[in-house]
């Protein structure tokens, strides 16, 4: 028997023009990988492979945590997005991406 959990990988990943997610010519994106897996190590490996397929790679990861709904119960757009994507990832057993901000958008927000 295997017990599937969802892992949230908070990271920064490189992007190229061929990365399907790229919509503004950014060089990287900061976001959260949402990965169904049986343990953290497997989650990290699966996430690496998922990014590679999209011509992306982890540049930096600062937190990897198991998803527990109670940690995201405070009402905010971010928590609501994480809850939605994590629930779906758990049901579909598919890796997803949430709360991403492109490097171009980050530059803009810093200026403003």
């Amino acid at each position: 028997m295997e017990i599937l959990a969802v892992w949230l990988i908070h990271h920064k990943a490189s992007m190229t023009l061929d990365s399907p997610m790229n919509m503004d010519g950014s060089e990287y994106i900061v976001g959260i990988g949402v990965v169904p897996a049986t343990n953290m190590q497997e989650a990290l490996q699966l996430f690496d492979a998922y990014l590679k397929k999209q011509d992306m790679a982890v540049l930096e990861a600062w937190k990897c945590e198991q998803y527990f709904p109670k940690n995201f119960s405070e009402i905010s757009q971010k928590n609501s997005d994480i809850n939605e994507v994590a629930q779906e990832a758990l049901e579909s057993n598919k890796i997803s991406y949430v709360c991403g901000i492109s490097s171009e958008a980050l530059d803009c927000e810093e200026e403003q």
Binding site: P20, M21, M23, D24, S96, I101, S102, E104
Partner: protein
């Protein structure tokens, strides 16, 4: 008929929270629209399944029309509207005309779209996707002009496109040439104002945040 009220129409809407801001104009300006007709390619059922899982924002539905339509505040959402089909656009405009009691021009004068992207994008190489997206924008331009003709709109129409000038899926020069092929007499880009939006994908999940530029194409100019 309510005179002088300005409205707008949007195409290819997805998630409610990511709906297009129809008040934005060039050079960081704002031009308040009194009412909006938003359109989505999906039927209401599919839209709700994809984007409105935790509930739908609508408080009223419009009955007795060929397309499903829902109402929230001064906004109508019309579902099952293919923006490349003039007849679909006409249907959405007519629903808006009947509900808001305004002219077709009041709705069609400003049409907004954010990051149109061909379906099944992940199966395509980038150049194929750029080609598919160019075709999509061109067909939408033609459909808007045809709809304007069917509805008897004589005025020049503003077609507003949010898309980053460096969007690998359709870079600025390709976007501009495509809009012109679709009948735009002029196309301009706001290079000075930066907009940052959450952009959803065609699969319905919460999107990521990207920088975007605003482009303005003039359609239906009979000169």
């Amino acid at each position: 008929m309510a005179a002088n009220y300005k409205g707008a129409m949007t195409l290819a809407e997805g998630r409610y929270n990511y709906r297009v801001d129809v008040d934005i104009i060039l050079n960081n300006g704002r031009d308040k629209k009194e009412f909006v007709v938003r359109t989505s390619l999906e039927s209401y059922g599919l839209w709700k399944a994809k984007y409105g899982k935790s509930g739908s924002p609508f408080s009223m539905f419009i009955k007795g029309t060929t397309k499903e339509a829902a109402v929230i505040d001064r906004e109508i959402w019309v579902f099952g509207i293919d923006a490349t089909k003039a007849n679909d656009i006409v249907t959405a405009v007519k629903i808006g005309m009947a509900y808001f009691k305004v002219s077709a021009e009041a709705i069609l004068n400003d049409v907004y779209v954010k990051n149109l992207n061909a379906e099944s994008e992940n199966d395509m190489l980038r150049q194929a996707l750029v080609t598919a997206n160019k075709k999509l924008y061109k067909e939408v331009c033609i459909a808007i002009s045809e709809a304007a003709g069917i509805l008897g709109c004589k005025s020049v129409l503003n077609f507003w496109v949010f898309s980053n000038s460096n969007n690998p899926k359709i870079p600025k020069d390709q976007l501009h040439s495509t809009l012109k092929e679709g009948g735009a007499t002029s196309v301009s880009t706001d290079e000075n104002t930066k907009h940052v939006f959450d952009v959803g994908d065609n699969f319905g999940g919460p999107g990521q945040r990207f920088k975007t530029n605003l482009h303005l194409a003039k359609l239906n100019d009979k000169l």
